[in-house]
């Protein structure tokens, strides 16, 4: 999508949202193209299921469309978008438990045949297991912070949880991950 010739990087997300609010639905395609990769990665890491990740991404962008007229650019667009994605993920996690076995999900690194790639795939799988085993809220803050590139204050905005709650969740998640990864010989 980002290779789309109609893609205009000069236009920011807020002006695209204004277009969307005015009924110019072409702006939605532009927004999806710009952000779907991060949205999909966030949902995929949170849910561990590529199909569910695509369902969540679709639902999130439809919610963007339906909320366009109420959108107020008080925070960064991506923080607002991530909040929608987080809520979609939490809804899905509440509806279906447990999530699919992440062993069933092909890892791109696991598709290689070289020994180095195999070791890397094994490491990646161990990390995925460790993150997957975290409680839902801890997993979400880790995914948003470590992989989504948000600061802990932005994570608080995206989740609607307090700064102190996010700090606590991050700290506990890192302690748990360090213990698990150290046992697996991956941390340190």
């Amino acid at each position: 999508m980002t290779n789309d010739p109609s893609h205009d990087p000069a236009r920011d997300d807020v002006s695209l949202m204004a277009d969307l609010a005015a009924g110019r639905t072409g702006a939605l395609d532009e927004l999806v193209g710009r952000h779907q990769e991060k949205v999909l990665a966030l949902a995929f890491r949170t849910l561990g299921d590529p199909e569910a990740a695509q369902d969540v991404a679709q639902e999130a962008f439809i919610k963007v469309l339906r909320s366009a007229r109420r959108y107020q650019p008080t925070a960064k667009f991506t923080t607002w978008l991530y909040r929608i994605v987080v809520n979609c993920c939490l809804d899905l996690m509440r509806r279906r438990r447990p999530s699919v076995n992440i062993d069933d999900v092909a890892s791109p690194a696991a598709q290689g045949s070289a020994a180095a790639e195999a070791i890397q795939a094994e490491t990646a799988q161990a990390v995925r297991h460790a993150v997957e085993a975290l409680p839902d809220r801890q997993r979400l803050v880790i995914v948003l912070h470590r992989f989504g590139g948000l600061s802990h204050r932005e994570v608080a905005q995206a989740t609607g949880w307090s700064n102190s709650a996010v700090e606590s969740l991050l700290t506990r998640a890192y302690v748990t991950l360090r213990q698990r990864l150290t046992r697996g010989g991956l941390d340190g």
Partner: protein, 169 residues
Amino acid sequence: MDPERICNAELLDYLGGRLDEAARARVERAASAQPDVRRRLNEAARTWNALGAWQVDVSGMDVRARVAARAMAPAPFLLLRLDWRQIGRIAATWLLAMALGAATGRSVAGRHVPSDAPQTRNDTELLSPPSEEALANALQLDLLSEGHTGEAIDAVLDSGVLAPEEAGG
């Protein structure tokens, strides 16, 4: 001077490059001066780097077509396409219309007899049989208007013409 307090979330934001220049300098100053901060930063950095091994490839996923199809499809129910303020306005308009209709109905009912059932004291009187006294007065008026004398009228009234009919008679 008291050592600067650096929380774990700040250390993680530092590793993620999410701090501004002043905050970054504060963390670095604390890490160089305080062994405890340096130890925590190293621990966090090791875990941070280990997590980096988990790369996901979503390049094969593209939801543009799915989103476009959903965006073009009509919502299954009109109300789903409205926000709460719009639904509130519709509900308020509907209630106002109901209230006005009810008020208008009461106003119209006050000027007309709305049903066969007796509604007022006058209606009840109209539907009840007249008393014997009322009939006698009416008959007396009729006889006087026809020019009969008082004696003749008394005779008619005494004849029992106003007495109730015998059952079966």
